[in-house]
Structure formats: C-alpha cells, structure tokens
C-alpha cells in the first residue's frame, strides 16, 4: 500500500513547533498536585443534566420513582450529536425536572435527579479484555453507548467525532495532554498516576479512527507526567511529544500547530486535514468504556483556590453538587467569593454552587478576593498591540475592540472575529484592563442576531416575491384569456383609488370579456398572440 501524502508531510514535521502568540501566565497547579487523585465520597443526591455535551439533549428513559442500578442508562442519545447519560450510583429517581446547571449566568435545564441509596449496587458490566478482537465499528458503537464526550472542556460527542474521522480518513491522532490553563491539573494528575490506561485508551482511539500515527502531546512543565508516560509508552507505537509550556497550546488548532507546525486552513476542520485531536481524559474514559465496560459516570476534576484548605484532584461522580465537593476540601466560606468552572483564563463563573459537576468540568476554582481581586476599571485602549502579539489566531484584538465599540459588524467579520477562540490571552495582557473577550462575545452574538434577522427577512422577501409572482401569473393567465381591447387591468399597474368612472369601465370591460370568451372559444391561440403583442407595446 502506498503511503498517503498526509503521512509523508506529517513524518517530516512532528516535533515541538511554535504556536502563534500565547502567554506564559503564573501557574498555580502545585497545590492540587500535592496529593494523589482521591475518589470523592458519595453524595446523597445527584443531578444529571440531559445536556452535558455540545449538541442535542439526551432522552430520559427512566421514570420518577424508578430504582436504578449503577451504570444503568438513564437517558439515551437523541441523534448523532447527543450522548447517553448513565446512573453514577444506585438509587431512586426522585424527579426529572428543570434545575440549575453550570453555564453562563443562571441557566436551567432538564435534569434527572437521583437519590443515592448508599449501596452502590452495580449493574453487570461487560469488560472487553482484548479490544483488538472487535472491529473499529464495534468499538465505535461501544464508545457511543458509553456516553463519552470531549472531557477537556469542549464536550463534543466523541463517537460522532470518531465517526466523521473514519468517514474522511485521518492520518494523525493527537492526544491532547497540554493542559495549559494555570490552575487545572486534572489531566496531569491522571497521567501521573494512570498513564498506562491513558495510553491504552489512546491505542483504542487510534484503532477506531484508523490513524496511521498517534502522538501524545504534553507541555514540558509536567515532569512527573512525562516520566510516567514515557514508561507507559515503552512497548507502544504511540509517540510522546513534549511541547513548550505556553497558553493556549491546548486549543485544538493550536496543538495541531504545536505538533505538526501546520495550520488548519481557515474555514476547514482538523479532520479535513486528516488530523483528529482527543483529550487525554477522553482517552482514559475510552479505556474505561472498552476494557472495563464502564460508561462515563465519573471524571477527574481539579478543586483548587485559596479558600480551600486541601486543594486536590478528585475523581468525582458526574452529578455531584459543586458545593458538596467544596465541603470535602474544607472550604473557608468567609473567603469564598465565587466559583469558576474551568480554568482562570477560559472558565466560566458559576452563578451558584448548587449545580452539579458535569462531564466537561475539568476544574472548580474557588475564588477569593486575595487571588482574584475585582477587575480594575477599564481604561482607554492605547493601541499598544500587546494583544495582537499574543493572539494565537493572529487576530488584531485592538482593531476588533474598536469595531466592537462602534458596532461595525462588517468590519468585525472582515477582521476575522469568527476565528477568535476566546482564549483570553488578549485580555490577560491588556494594560488598560479592557474585558476584550466580553466585547467579542457580545459582537459575535450581534452578528448571529443580524444574520438570523437577515435570514428571516430574506425568507419573507422570497415569500413575498413568490406571492407577487403568483399574483402576476394569475393576472397574466386572466389577461391571456381577455379581449385584446381590455388593457387597463395589467398586474404591473399600481392600484388606483376607487372611482365611479373606473368602476363603470371595469364593468363594461367585464361584459366585453365575457362576450369575447364566447367568441374566442373557436380560436384561442390567435387571441393569445394578440394579447402578448399588446403587452410588448
């Protein structure tokens, strides 16, 4: 079999490349990394949102009052962009209702409420000791059934991403273990302690997507994890690539650039270029799903921040309340001023701690005024261009800001606002403390709203035009049949105000038409020709 052109070019390029821009923020991972990954205790009540991923919410298949076992399916995937939800423990379904979920501001979604019975009775699992015995499509189906979505934070359904990769064919699988956010250490602690299982998951992923090469990419400041990986990778064909520590190397397009030196062409997806990126946590979940038969019911998440007495990485059940986890870390409530889900640079601030941990929660960061003071007042943009120097998409944030302020949506599009990955590097370096990402989000929404309105108006316009066309056609039809002398009633003429004379004329014309119809029955084609001639004049 001849090598594909993709393969050749990647062979030449795999080494640590530079990404565009980027920042080197102060890193605060050490606190949480001091202890090993701990299993979080079983909470009394779990809340499982039906939508924890990108796409369509899952469909609940249990009823209120039903007793369920651990690993039992609670909700089925609803279409390709949907992943199932499983019971993290045994218990009773107490409600299927709208309740608060993590997101921007106060967000409410349909959730399954599960009261744990404390027994943790598990349904029987079907582990697969040798995944090589299964075809890649069988493995894909298992991953689909295990309810895995991108655990790095994006939450795209993993099975769907793999399916597209199989369809289009990929050359290179990148396991993203960069974890460049300054507070998050979930993947680092996972790899440090369970590198073999991450590697196994990566091997499974590679055999599912049929990639010729697989690289695990990790930033060089994670010495322990790198050591664990190189031990685990001794008998594997998977390669290890140590990248420079820079935020946001872990972004999908950024890690592709860092590993291959190649930029995904604008407007295309990585898969179009034959590259698939999966997070290290996702690989671990895939290993669990295939080798142990366990669906995605727990994840490793970093709990950190100065109000916590014992910051650590918890292996927590999906659906565990955030406040419960904070209690487990000994939170000092007097210090606690807020909670960030995700990292300090790209995370979102939670409206409340009474929300569940979901599949994409890689970090819960308790804020305090000491560590996260109120943002400094916004000053004027001095166009210093520091933002442009750090933008990994090579945008001009200072220009985008000016256009955002003046609501110049066309210029925003022209300057590539859609390419902004909202990593926040620009706002991090902005000496005038301008919340740039906030401006861009608002502008993106404004553009979406304008496009939506444009679509609606275009739809109405086409409907109206069709209506006009139909009217005209009907009139022409009528005209075709009418007398050659009746010229006043063409559809193109504007409607005249009512007048008695006109009415009289119209009545007379109608009488003539009826008379003409009678006489025309003998020779309709010649009358039609005459009417057309009339129109032309």
């Amino acid at each position: 079999m001849s090598q594909s052109p993709h393969h050749k070019s990647f062979t030449a390029r795999l080494r640590a490349h530079k990404i565009f821009g980027g920042i080197k923020p102060a890193v605060y991972k050490a606190d949480a990394l001091r202890s090993r990954v701990m299993p979080a205790p079983l909470p009394g009540n779990l809340v499982l949102p039906l939508l924890q991923h990108q796409g369509q919410p899952a469909m609940a298949v249990v009823e209120v009052g039903q007793a369920v076992l651990k690993y039992q399916v609670l909700a089925m995937g609803n279409g390709p962009l949907s992943v199932p939800v499983h019971a993290p423990t045994s218990g009773v379904i107490t409600a299927i209702a709208d309740s608060a979920v993590p997101g921007f501001g106060a967000q409410v979604q349909r959730c399954i409420h599960l009261q744990a019975d404390g027994l943790d009775t598990a349904a029987e699992l079907q582990p697969c000791l040798d995944y090589r015995a299964l075809s890649h499509l069988q493995l894909l189906a298992l991953i689909d059934a295990a309810g895995i979505c991108g655990l790095g934070g994006a939450g795209f359904p993993t099975a769907e991403k793999l399916r597209v990769s199989i369809e289009q064919g990929v050359e290179l699988l990148i396991i993203n273990a960069a974890e460049c956010e300054p507070y998050i250490s979930a993947d680092e602690s996972l790899i440090r302690e369970r590198a073999d299982r991450v590697v196994s998951g990566a091997e499974i992923l590679q055999s599912v997507c049929l990639a010729k090469r697989c690289v695990i990419a990790i930033e060089k400041d994670k010495a322990d994890a790198i050591e664990a990986l190189s031990t685990a990778l001794q008998d594997s064909s998977i390669e290890l690539l140590v990248l420079n520590s820079k935020f946001p190397t872990g972004g999908e397009r950024q890690i592709i650039q860092a590993v291959t030196g190649f930029e995904v062409p604008r407007g295309l997806l990585p898969v179009d270029a034959g590259i698939l990126v999966q997070n290290a946590g996702t690989a671990y979940a895939v290993h669990n799903a295939i080798v142990e038969g366990k669906p995605c019911i727990s994840r490793i998440t970093t709990l950190t921040g100065s109000p916590l007495q014992t910051p650590k990485n918890f292996e927590a059940l999906i659906g565990t309340p955030v406040s419960f986890l904070f209690e487990m870390c000994g939170i000092d409530k007097s210090q606690h001023t807020g909670t960030i889900m995700g990292g300090s640079l790209m995370g979102i601030e939670l409206d409340s701690d009474e929300v569940p941990l979901i599949k994409t929660t890689n970090c819960l960061l308790a804020k305090s005024t000491g560590e996260f003071p109120d943002p400094a007042p916004e000053q004027a943009c001095i166009r210093c261009g520091y933002c442009a120097d750090v933008c990994p998409a090579r945008l001009l944030p200072q220009q985008l800001y000016a256009f955002s302020r003046s609501e110049d949506l066309d210029q925003l599009e022209e300057h590539g606002l859609a390419d902004c990955i909202e990593c926040g590097a620009c706002a991090y370096v902005c000496p005038s403390h301008i919340p740039l990402v906030q401006y861009y989000r608002a502008s993106k929404q404004a553009i979406a709203e304008r496009d939506r309105q444009f679509q609606t108006s275009k739809q109405w316009q086409s409907r109206f035009q069709f209506h006009q066309y139909r009217l005209k056609k009907e009139t022409t039809k009528a005209l075709d049949k009418k007398l050659p002398g009746a010229e006043k009633t063409t559809a193109n003429e504007p409607a005249q105000p009512f007048s008695r004379d006109q009415a009289r004329d119209e009545i007379a014309a109608a009488v003539r038409r009826v008379a003409a119809r009678h006489s025309n029955r003998t020779a309709p084609s010649s009358a039609k020709d005459k009417a057309k001639d009339k129109d032309r004049h």
Partner: protein, 376 residues
Amino acid sequence: MGRIVTSSPMQHGSLDTNRIMLLVVAACLPGVLIGTWFFGYGILINISLAVIAALVLEACLVKIRGREPRLYLADNSALVTAVLFGIAIPPGSQWSLLLMGIAFAIVIGKHAFGGLGQNAFNPAMCGYLFLLLTFPLEMTSWHIPNDAIVAGSSFSPIAWQGFLQALLLTFPFLTSDPSGIQATVDGLAMATPLIEFKMAGPNALRAAQENGLSLFARSSQTGWELVNFGYLLGGLFLLFKRIINWHIPVSILATIVVLSILFYAPGSTSIYGTTYLHLFGSATMIGAFFIATDPVSAATTNKGRLVYGIIIGASIYAIRVWGSYLDSIAIAVLFGNFCAPLLDHFCRPRLYGENRPLPTTENLPRAAAENNEPGS
C-alpha cells in the same frame, strides 16, 4: 443568587497602562540628565512647567467631558506628553510659549479628538509643531548658559548660577532688569549640530573640536551625541521591558542609516552628513524610541509598524537634507500619523490558517489523493 459574575479571563498580567507610561518617563531620564549636564537646567524647568500645566489642563478637560478625573489622570498619559513636549522645546523658552504649546497639545491634540486612545496625532508633536509654525525663531534657538560653549570656563551649567539664569530665561518678569539677561541670551542662541552643519557645513564641528571641545567636555556642540546615547539607552530599556516593539525604532534607524549611506558624499561641502551625524547629531534617538513609538497614533500592526518606521525615517532624512525645516522629527512623525490608518487597513497579519493549503506533500486535493491510494 446575587453574585457578580465576571467574564473570562479572570487572571490578569502585571503590566498596566499607568506603569507603561511611568516606565516611558523613567526611560527618558538618562537623556534628560545628560541634556541637563550639557545644556543646563532649562530642560528640567521646561519639563516641570509642562507637566504641571498638562496635569491641570487634563484634569479640567476630563471634568468638562464628564468623566472621573482621578481615574483619567492615573493613566499618566498626560505626564508622558508633557515630558516629551518639555524635552522638545528649546531650553530657556519663555513660560508663555511653553503654556501655549502644552495647551495646544492637550486641548487640540488630545481631547478634541476624544482623549487618550482617540487622538490621531501625537499630542506632544502637535504642540511642538504649533509653536514651530507660530514662533519659528524662538523655536529654533537653543538658549544655553554662557559657560557651556566656552571650553575651560570656570563654572558649569549645572551650577546654581546656571539654574538662576535658566529660570530667568523662562520667567523674564522675575528680574527687574530683563534686558541684561536678554542681552547675554542673544549671543548664546544656537541650534543642534545637524542644523549647524546644514547652515555652516562641517567646518563648524571641526572648529569646535579644534577649540579643544572634547566629547566629555561640557559643550553643547559635542553634548548632542551623548544626549542621543542617553535616549538610545532609554529606548533599549523600553525594548528590554517589552514596553515597545522593535519594529518602529529599528525601521526608522535602518532607513536613516541606508539613506545617509546612499547619499553621503565625503569631502563635499554639501549638506549630506555622515550616518553617525544623522543618528547622533540631532533628535533622532528620542524620535525613534520615544516619539514615533507613541502607540495611539502609530500603526498598530507589526507589519504596519515596519512601513510606518520606513515612512518616518525617510521623511526625517528628506526634510533634513532637502527640506527647508530645520527640525524634522515632529513633521515626520505627524506625516507617519497621517498614514497610520491606511497602514492598519493594508498591513494586517495573515490569520491562523489563512491561505494555507491542506497538509499534502504535493498539495493535492484530498479526494484526488485518496483515489491514488490503492490500499484504502
């Protein structure tokens, strides 16, 4: 829940506008101190007066525009404008001249456009050019204390008498006998070495050196180059601290170097000076590192900044050599300011993935590549 939810990123770098502006002022210090050493206290008096006037004006204007003066004064941008203006104005200029200039800089150059960040032109250079156009004679005469140009004179320009003399030059109403000061002053007026060169040819410098004025003697004629080294030092500090990018100063200096080498005619009595004279004989260094790098009015993309620097460098050289104005930095920078919006439009960086082919060795379209593959 009533939490105030902030938008990401929640972490912030350490550099802010207030500190940037202070660092720029700090970077001016070597040049200012060397300038004082050679030309007397006039520069310091200029700067102090300009700073006081600028801050008062800034506070008033911000108040008039309905904003919080404390927050706006804290950005220190008026301070930088005033310091650069004070350096640009000839020492010994009268207070009324200074006030008019700084008022024009702050009121018209800055706030008429909408304040910091909106000004299309460098405010300090607006004020300077306003004075240059309205008071050309005063603006081209550098008054310096008597002993600064006489080799081996008994007292230094930074001695107390020098301070008094400089103060009286700025505030002539302080003395009962202003004519005495004025009489001395007329004999002391001089221009930068480059201007001297332009006016009198290379003989002037050679004569000065033959008169026993060495590089470190307190002479205004040789002092200029050390002043420029001072600003070069400050500029390198700004580069090192990553306050400014290298693009503007390097392209300005490189353009001047290239042009002065191209047009240099050794031995001729023409006005084309050596490269060294062009770099260190006038205000080139402060222009390249401090004035042209004002980010608000400069081009904002790195590619644009290179072109911007070339435009300014070429203008500086052209105005010096073929133009009729003596000081070229301000005009050149303002000319660059005019071009900046156009440069911002045309010199945009290539976005990530923009005009990038798919990663194939022959850059074949994917479908074609797969068809060539018998195995799959």
